[in-house]
Amino acid sequence: MHYITSERIKVGVIYGEKTRMKPVWFIWNGKKYHVTKVNHVWKDKDGREVLVFFSVSDEANTYLLCYNTLQMEWTICGTYTEG
């Protein structure tokens, strides 16, 4: 995993019954990334803040996005590498 100091990003999300929150695109460093697959979703707490992590992939790479439910903001935490 290649870590980035959390950078705020803009994310397009679909809210539904079964999938609840599903990121479908995000804009990072001026480039738009289209999410082709949401690999895994998990939650963690940091004090009172509940963070929801999304591992998402586009055609080329896999990324770790984080939604802070208290601050209501999205950040990108890193890109996954092989090992």
């Binding site: 690999n39 707490k45 940091d46 004090g47 992939s57 896999t62 092989e82 090992g83």
Partner: protein, 406 residues
């Protein structure tokens, strides 16, 4: 569906290579590759090996450097405990849809008493198939399930067809199954006891089950009868429903340090950190204890513990640290230290007395105020000056419970 069970039907659900499976789900580039999940730092061990890594002889507990020698293409991912806790809780939610009698044995294993659910869900095997499908769909990983009339046999069954297995042991199959089963394959018989039994000429559970119980009791004391029952597949232990487990008997933290500690003040700093971590966990569970245990490991892996029992219960970092320091004062160190551990035993809930003197009361108030700040903003947001910059690594002990999630 043929075959019978005795009065109860017990299920053991065991996640397959749990940590590694969750990491392969998170990062598709890791799928199908030999992978281990390990701790941070150079001197770490394998926590879990993926099924692709296991044919190389890589197992949990193996030092990472040895695992890499066995498999030069091995990939290593640092453990992400919150991710695994989240997955475990989601699995627990699925299991609780079938019965309230779910015992969380560890972060990746659970027992279910499904006796009362058989009619509703049309049989044990059907319940198992639905559980496997739900876990695969909702969590994205596989599990192996064993079904039998007690916990001992259910756990044996789940181990027989890993990964992604489903195995039932009917009552009429028990004797023939255990007759040839090596004693070391039985849950509860570790390598040392198995070696001892082998040296006695007891190689299989069939052999062990035929030894008269009074002879086993004479040789092994109180566990003699347990061994006799295990060898015959007898186990009356109930499934302890999650939330009704007995209180913890002890709690502790230990750490293998990045470089060997030669100076006493270096050991002291780690004792302070571990005492602070331990105090926080104790207070969040409402526990206090009277016996402080200090554990040290030298560079030659000689490990020893010393303990001190106090007159009153304690649960703050400074109190635990002070006692650990007193224990350390009585030890003449013969070598550098690679592991430091602190634990508190003789635990009780609600055992803290309000201190008599104001100075002591203020200290407690400060610590409780720090707890409130750290609960809100995250662990170690507010801490002692000597520990600033430290991080509290979340741990998953073999006896992890969902309520341990901080």
């Amino acid at each position: 569906m043929s075959g019978t069970y005795r009065e109860k039907v017990i299920m053991h659900v065991d996640m397959d290579a749990f940590f590694a499976s969750v990491e392969q789900r998170t990062n598709p580039a890791l799928v199908g590759k030999p992978l281990v999940v390990c701790g941070a730092g150079k001197r770490t061990v394998v926590t879990t090996a993926s099924y692709e890594a296991r044919p190389h002889g890589i197992k949990s507990g193996m030092p990472l450097f040895e695992a890499k020698k066995r498999c030069p293409t091995l990939l290593c991912v640092e453990a992400d405990i919150p991710k695994y806790i989240d997955a475990s809780l989601r699995v627990l939610n699925i299991l609780q849809e079938f019965t309230p009698d779910v015992e969380v044995y560890s972060i990746d294993e659970a027992f279910l008493d499904i006796t009362g659910s058989l009619l509703l869900f049309r049989g044990a095997e059907n319940i198992a198939r639905i559980i496997k499908k739900s876990i695969k769909e909702q969590v994205g990983i596989t599990c192996s399930i064993g079904i039998a009339s007690n916990k001992l046999l259910a756990k044996l069954a789940s181990d027989m067809e890993k990964p992604d297995g489903l195995k039932s042991i009917r009552d009429e199959e028990i004797s023939s199954l255990l007759e040839g089963l090596p004693v070391e394959d039985m849950w509860g018989i570790g390598p040392r006891l198995a070696k001892y039994l082998n040296e006695m000429g007891v190689v299989t559970c069939g052999h062990l089950g035929r030894i008269p119980v009074h002879l086993l009791e004479r040789r092994f004391g109180i566990i003699g009868r347990m061994l006799h029952n295990m060898a015959r597949g007898v186990d009356d232990s109930p499934v302890v429903r999650f939330g009704t487990e007995p209180d913890a008997k002890s709690m502790g933290h230990s750490m293998t340090v990045q470089r060997d500690l030669k100076l006493r003040k270096e050991i002291s700093w780690y004792l302070f950190l571990l005492s602070e971590m331990l105090g926080r966990r104790l207070r969040s569970g409402g526990y206090a204890g009277r016996t402080v245990v200090l554990t040290l490991r030298y560079t030659d892996f000689h490990t020893f513990s010393r303990r001190m029992t106090l007159k009153r219960h304690i649960n703050t970092g400074p109190q635990i640290h002070e006692t650990a320091e007193r224990i350390l004062d009585g030890i003449r160190l013969r070598d550098a230290v690679r592991l430091v551990g602190v634990s508190l035993a003789n635990l009780a809930r609600g055992a803290i007395q309000i201190p008599l003197f104001e100075g002591e009361r203020r200290k407690i108030e400060v610590i409780l105020a720090m707890d409130r700040v750290n609960d809100r903003y995250g662990d170690f947001t507010l801490s002692w000056g000597a520990l600033m910059g430290s991080q509290m690594n979340r741990v998953v002990t073999p006896r992890w419970r969902p309520e341990d999630r901080l």
